[in-house]
Symmetry: C3
């Protein structure tokens, strides 16, 4: 489990009820008071914290570390927390006036939800980088894009059993449904709707805030201090472990389905094989993380986040919590792969048809909103610098050429499917945007969605991560893409071949009519 | 690999052929004689046993353990096995007259299949609890429910290539097919059909019983002493390891498919992430199992089976091998989620229409056979007591409210699909129960089955275990549920739109006619 | 991580830039020179090599090992490499005239791609066995079978957006697409297309070969010395680890999709459960590998490759890199399961209809090309000898009887589907071989392909590996097989029921006409 690289300056034995842990770090009075009760009430999280780095070093000592090993990126840290372990109070009592869920708890101002702006006190660079990460806008980018909302509604909305449009989902999804579906990963918008008194087993009646959208650890959560994101999405509370964030299981929480099968592809890749077979011998806790010395094959974090060095102690790539600054291409989630958006707020994008999409339905890029060639080149080079520590240039270039070939060919196949879908809309066998209808809410539209949302995405992940032939072919890959395109076509051909077939009537949606006339928001 | 918490009283070095193991425990003469040969013949299982708790402590010593650490729950243990390691003879020679597979083997009465009633000699409480577990009735509940048998037949039955009904499965599945499909997990009914002489490589001709349904480790196996179940389903022979039973891979053996994707959902949950990343540092062998001290996130066993304590040595939840007594809702396997059955024998249930189902086709509960509100409340509280060791009440309540919302909404969507299916049956485009036909054996009926058997189930698992957005949305979740409902509807609409379409004729099944007139058995 | 079983004769401390590793083995001058630069440039692979067996023993010392523990199977090893660690030069500089990618690199003749014929210098028996392995012919068997090429084309070919046949894939796939799909696992054909000068960061301009088909680690790769295969497919460079090859994650790289779900099935099997829960206590590095002592449940390698002994040091099964000589039946990849081909080159097979298939479309075996009863019996016994170390004969026989029952029943169901497909072709609703058309490139043909390529295969894997009920039933098993057969039938019935339905015209393919008249090549 790695080596402890920081010496403890002095040792102090704490004794609080239910635990008997020796740590070398002074604990603030408020934190000691928290632990006094919570070690008994919540032993799981108190124990995790006790094993965390936060319990084992003060910010002062952490700031004394020089060079790449330094984990506290802030130049200054508030004096009142600088010389204590980073305990309960050091996080849950910071900036009380900023947090709408601050409540009086045994004489202290406590807030439930710790936000990136709390973590920023010590980890300023990471918080700033993360604010540029698409993920930090994952709530807004979905909830405030009216076209995406049509897609969302068609999947998680409720069905009016008495409506003629059954089984279309015409009723809105409840907040509870939203919180455990799209917004489980994207993050919820938190809101304090009041306060309530609960009768606690241990100390009688206490008052707590009622928080809508809670619990949630989604990457784009809107916090009660207005900040975006949740550090605990990856640095799971209360270990806040670098080890856990560096292992691929963290990413699996949200990157596992056919829309974004990163974990599955990784697990079947050569890198994933090496990780699975050998990682018990690696060190996931060292900072910086040294290729060859600490680990033998990249995990998700190695390629996308971590500060890596080589065995000459040279920096191979800088740490980034923006994550996409090693990625020229955005390969999932939309109808076509395209250069990454310039701005993490993608609700501002409009394609040539005025739709809030980074490409048009024919695959053309909304280039004004996307990064340009130079930035793409720079990001490609940053990523490749990493690959080149185990692979020679011909290997890396060959891999990359294949990846960009796959972006082109999957986009071309998605276009073939979209052209058939457009023919279906024109033929009157289904109704899309041109007919002022939701383009995602009919059976055949769901089949079309599969082509780009599942199969083209999976193929691109398999290509990007050299993730084995199966995910590129038979496991939601080119077999299923070919099959689904043929089925779209066969569906239309059959209907055209039936003499006298009666068409279903379609009714324009006033809401969509309005969007198409007046624009898609915000 | 955990710590040995029991002191061995004396040490005795055994030497038998092919092994050279020192253990501190006296071994009975018959067991020593077994090992004499089988250490060479079956080194895999003998070695496992030697590493097991059973080889390392006698029942007497195990019974001397006081308090929660005690693993032998029986108040008394037969004197003849009390002072030896629990070896071959102590299990395979117990209660010889009860076991139909008892045979003479080198002068000993041996039976092949060890049953829960053998294990009961030392582990009485667990055996008694398990008899109340739905799983112990998994064979009977499937094999003796005539409606489930229609479903089973439509999936695993054979096809008569010369029949007009091809490719419907009109011929019965063979015992061999049954044993490796449904009954692999549900358990087979074992039966001694005779004895045979086999020429063994090592000691010449020997007689052995011929056991139909063997091998099998299914949870509801009908044993040769009449008992139900197989402890080795989870406590894999011959380690019988608590560690293995507590890790989630054991449950994965039967809980992995789209009908019951518990393992997949767990692996993608926050809990599963913590387990995957950190469990090498945990202790899976301590009894009781202490939250925070021994493990940092729950596995399947932690929530559903194990005796858990907090770091104050207080019991958080009692051990249960009934397993569903922490579960108010039964969320999979049937058309609608519903309160758990009162009785593990579900063949006795009749819904308002006389069908052997816990709900009717419209989703109404067969409440007379299901647990009531009080019992549901009690079970909810038992489970939540566990959650509260790492989460505060607002977190736990928020999670639970979402879960019950999901039960309601998935039941409502399943109802929408069933209403369309009923319309299809009425329209004559398929034939269901009302037409005295198998409601599961046509292409469109299989599509309907997907809505509740795969997608509603997966969505509920994702909700119950906070298992990530993907299993609730794109990985056999709400996307597929929405799509399949739309396809059911579109299938019917197309047929209604075709002028002059010829309907396929349907023929009533005399067997189903009889069930509908005379009741569904047994 | 296992025990080092070979004593090092003397210790010599090497120091090269960027590393500080002590090893006991002399390193050749050329290898030392390689490491001099590459330890800095490619720390990942140099570090792996330093931890490999190759860095820790000379061939001479390895050859001095007697008995089953010997890993160097060659009787003689070239003198010039015998007394050094097997380093860079010892592999990348062997047989320079044989390798078309040999280039001058700082005065040395280096080749990029190390082949099985290089490895053969020390590992002659393994290389010879592997040449008999179907996998070594995986490139040829796919690329030179014209019927398989029709299947491949229909999946990975490109779509001509302006063609009437859209969305059929009528344009050939590019080399880049091929290399990351079918040939990722099957292996590419490597070819040196020229040489190029690259400006390297560290030492300026250098010349390197341009290799088409690179990178690739596929099992049937055609190497630049004409040999077939890639040892690094399983013994990942540059650890070349037995441990990694013995763990199931290696096989997962290519055996994960619905066509060949070996890893998924294993992971859900009892064996996979035991592996997952307990393997941290096993030793994956010992040779021979002893059942019970070194490991407690088989991995892929244990059953299919490794030299296994029992605890009496008797050989249970010999090592084989042919892999199928413990397998009577070939259970995946084709329309029906059948006895294994006699020759690893399957392009020579012709069925009774002259097609390059090991069975005809009705399921009859092309027996002249397949192994006979005696060989099947012998292979069955070899495999069962292994099972019998943990299971008694009735268990093993019962398992095997079920497996052969499943081969029969899945073949019968596939026949039912193929009969419907043939009826569809005859009816004119699709066009197959009889109509001089690709039998795999229409929507309904893809559905037919699913029956044998995904579902029958998955069912057989679940049976062969006792891999749980779910993969035999609901997880791409008998449920989906039954459903798809019903859908094939329903598809045809609907079309037959529509009065006046217009058939789509079909045009014979001249290429297929030629194959059918003149034979399927080569």
């Amino acid at each position: 489990m790695g080596k402890t690289t920081l010496a403890f300056l002095f040792v102090l034995v704490l004794s609080f009820p239910g635990t008997a842990i020796a740590t070398g770090i002074p604990i603030s009075d408020p934190t000691a008071e928290c632990i006094d009760c919570h070690a008994s009430i919540h032993p799981g999280i108190v124990k995790d914290w006790q094993e965390s780095r936060h319990a084992k070093i003060t910010p002062s000592d952490a700031m004394a570390v020089e060079g790449l090993a330094r984990k506290v990126s802030s130049k200054t840290v508030p004096e009142e927390i600088r010389n204590f372990a980073v305990g309960c109070a050091e996080c849950h009592m910071q900036r009380p006036n900023e947090h709408k869920d601050t409540f009086d708890h045994n004489g202290y101002d406590i807030h439930v939800v710790v936000s990136p702006d709390d973590c920023r006190l010590c980890h300023a660079e990471e918080a700033t980088q993360y604010a540029k990460n698409l993920m930090s806008h994952a709530y807004k980018n979905l909830a405030e894009n009216q076209l995406y909302q049509l897609h969302e509604q068609s999947i998680i909305g409720e069905i009016d059993l008495n409506s003629k449009s059954k089984p279309k989902a015409t009723l809105p999804a409840s907040a509870d449904t939203k919180a455990e579906t799209c917004y489980y990963c994207h993050g919820t918008r938190l809101k304090v709707s009041g306060f309530e008194i609960r009768d606690t087993e241990d100390v009688g009646e206490l008052e707590f805030p009622i928080i809508e959208g809670w619990p949630n650890q989604g990457v784009g959560r809107i916090n009660l201090d207005g900040s975006r994101g949740s550090c605990s999405a990856c640095h799971t509370r209360h270990l806040f472990s670098i080890e856990m964030a560096r292992k691929p299981h963290t990413c699996r929480e949200c990157h596992i389905g056919p829309d974004v099968p990163a974990y599955k592809v990784y697990a079947a890749s050569k890198h994933g094989n090496i990780y699975s077979a050998m990682h018990n011998n690696w060190d996931f806790n060292t900072v910086p993380w040294t290729i060859g010395k600490d680990f033998g094959a990249p995990t998700c974090a190695a390629c996308h986040v971590s500060l890596l060095t080589n065995t000459d102690d040279e920096v191979v790539v800088e740490r980034t919590h923006q994550m996409n600054n090693r990625l020229p291409w955005r390969i999932f989630g939309l109808i076509y792969a395209h250069p990454h958006p310039q701005n993490p707020d993608t609700t501002i994008i409009r394609n040539k048809d005025g739709l809030p999409l980074p490409t048009d339905f024919e695959g053309g890029f909304a280039s004004n909103y996307l990064i340009g060639k130079d930035e793409m080149e720079s990001r490609r080079k940053t990523m490749q610098a990493l690959c080149l520590n185990c692979h020679d240039a011909s290997w890396v270039n060959g891999h990359w050429r294949r990846f960009e070939n796959t972006i082109r060919t999957t986009n071309a196949k998605t276009l073939a499917g979209t052209q058939i879908m457009q023919e279906i809309w024109k033929s009157g066998h289904a109704a899309g945007l041109e007919q002022d209808n939701n383009p995602f809410d009919e059976a055949i539209e769901k089949k079309w969605s599969e082509t780009w949302l599942f199969y083209a995405n999976t193929i691109r992940f398999a290509s990007a991560m050299a993730g084995g032939g199966d995910y590129g072919v038979y496991a939601n890959g080119r077999f299923q893409l070919a099959q689904t395109l043929l089925e779209l076509n066969s569906w239309l051909k059959l209907r055209k071949s039936i003499p006298g077939l009666k068409l279903q009537p379609h009714h324009p949606s006033p809401r969509i009519q309005k969007f198409r006339k007046e624009g898609w928001g915000p």
